[in-house]
Amino acid sequence: MSPLAKLLEAALFAASRPLTLEELATLGPEAAGEGEGEEGGEAEAETRAALAELRGAWAGEDHGVELVEIAGGWQFLTRREYAEPIERAQFALRPRRLSPAALETLAIVAYRQPVGRLEVDEIRGVDSEAVLDKLVERGLIEIVSRGEGLGRPLLYGTTPQFLEILGLKGLDQLPRLDELSVALRPPAPAEPE
């Protein structure tokens, strides 16, 4: 492996969360020192190449972990086949499952973000304040801005943590609405009452 790939391996091992390409690009020797005038893109390109090399090195049957692209970053994760024995031995816990109400709310926030509580209530047909609060507490959604309407309502959006618990690289990996069996027009502009 190249020296940079080994450096990335060490960094990814030390961090217990996904590291983004940008973060990893700051590790390289040229990023740390003289390369002031240099394009940042060059360090990122090198990092990208080293990541590909590193992933190749861990791919295949010889290892129990693999390098995974997730939540806009990279992380070493155990291979699927080992989750059960590890959990049975109680070395690690799987994340708690989300309730149907929480998943409904997450789905609405993910597709309509930035979205206010009233719209979530409207779509779900139930008061969603408590669920939204709990999702904020778990770091899966966050307040991203305030709306224009009456009382300048808080608007919610998803966080990288949301992508992480779903194992997604980015929001664009969510299914497109027109791929669903129930096709629906995009949200109509607010109708005058």
Binding site: R80, A83, I86, R94, P95, L103, A110, I123, L166, L180
Partner: protein
């Protein structure tokens, strides 16, 4: 006194408000469930049938006290009533009162489908474990402290140098002699019916003597042993023996 026996457990009192949150996540969920069960067409909803079923189910599940379900029940009944109103044939103005509900049901059905997708993604993600399961810290932990003994001593000296001279409060034994002054005044009272302030404290009294005599005079006046008078502002105080009759 004794713990309840296992055969006769103490049941918690039943409250009237029982909401089966696990079963349905809301009135739309319940409606969809009913529609699916009856294999009805969402876009051409048989409102009368579905409204009756909805009411029956929420009564059975004890959901009839939850506002969200009640609101939906009311909405269904209103649509049912609107559909019963006569309308002219070929009336273009007429809008199907069900359309809003149908739109919401379709929208909700889409959300349910997404929920299924999210659930699968989360389950699949949970098959892979990251290193450790500590919550991600927003900042790096501080590096372990490295320090030489000399640096530490120098730092301690700098800190000590900054401390100002300690401001000690001097505690002195209380030098007031109220009892002595009282004895002196009582002796004077025996000898004279009336005397002045300077007779009590002398010509050049210390602050302590003045304070002791003053407190003593006030105390004796309170007890009714003497009477204090001052003929004019800033004039010497005149002390007069109180007659026994008035003192009683």
């Amino acid at each position: 006194m004794t713990a309840p026996s296992p055969t006769n457990p103490v049941l918690p009192e039943q409250s009237g408000f029982v909401v089966e949150l696990e079963q349905f996540s809301g009135p739309l969920d319940l409606l969809l469930h009913l529609i699916r069960e009856d294999e009805l067409d969402i876009t051409d909803l048989l409102i009368a049938k579905i409204a009756d079923q909805f009411l029956a189910v929420i009564n059975e599940l004890g959901l009839n006290q939850a506002a969200d379900y009640l609101e939906m029940a009311a909405r269904l009944l209103r649509i049912k009533a609107q559909l019963l109103l006569p309308r002219r044939l070929g009336d273009d103005e007429w809008e199907d009162p069900r359309s809003e509900l149908v739109r919401r049901l379709l929208e909700y059905q889409q959300i349910r489908e997404l929920v299924g997708w999210l659930q699968q993604a989360a389950t699949r993600r949970a098959e892979q474990l990251g290193r450790g399961y500590a919550p991600p810290s927003p900042e790096l932990p501080p590096a372990p402290l490295e320090i030489e003994l000399n640096d530490l001593l120098a730092a301690a000296e700098r800190v000590i140098a900054l401390i100002p001279e300690p401001m000690l409060h001097r505690v002195v034994p209380r030098p007031l002699d109220v009892e002595g002054a009282t004895a002196r005044i009582q002796a004077l009272l025996v000898a004279q019916e009336e005397f002045g302030w300077s007779d009590v404290v002398g010509a050049r009294p210390s602050v302590v003597d003045v304070l002791s005599a003053f407190i003593s005079l006030l105390e004796l006046a309170k007890r009714g042993a003497l009477r204090l008078a001052q003929p004019a502002p800033f004039a010497p105080v005149v002390i007069r023996r109180e007659s026994p009759r008035e003192a009683a």
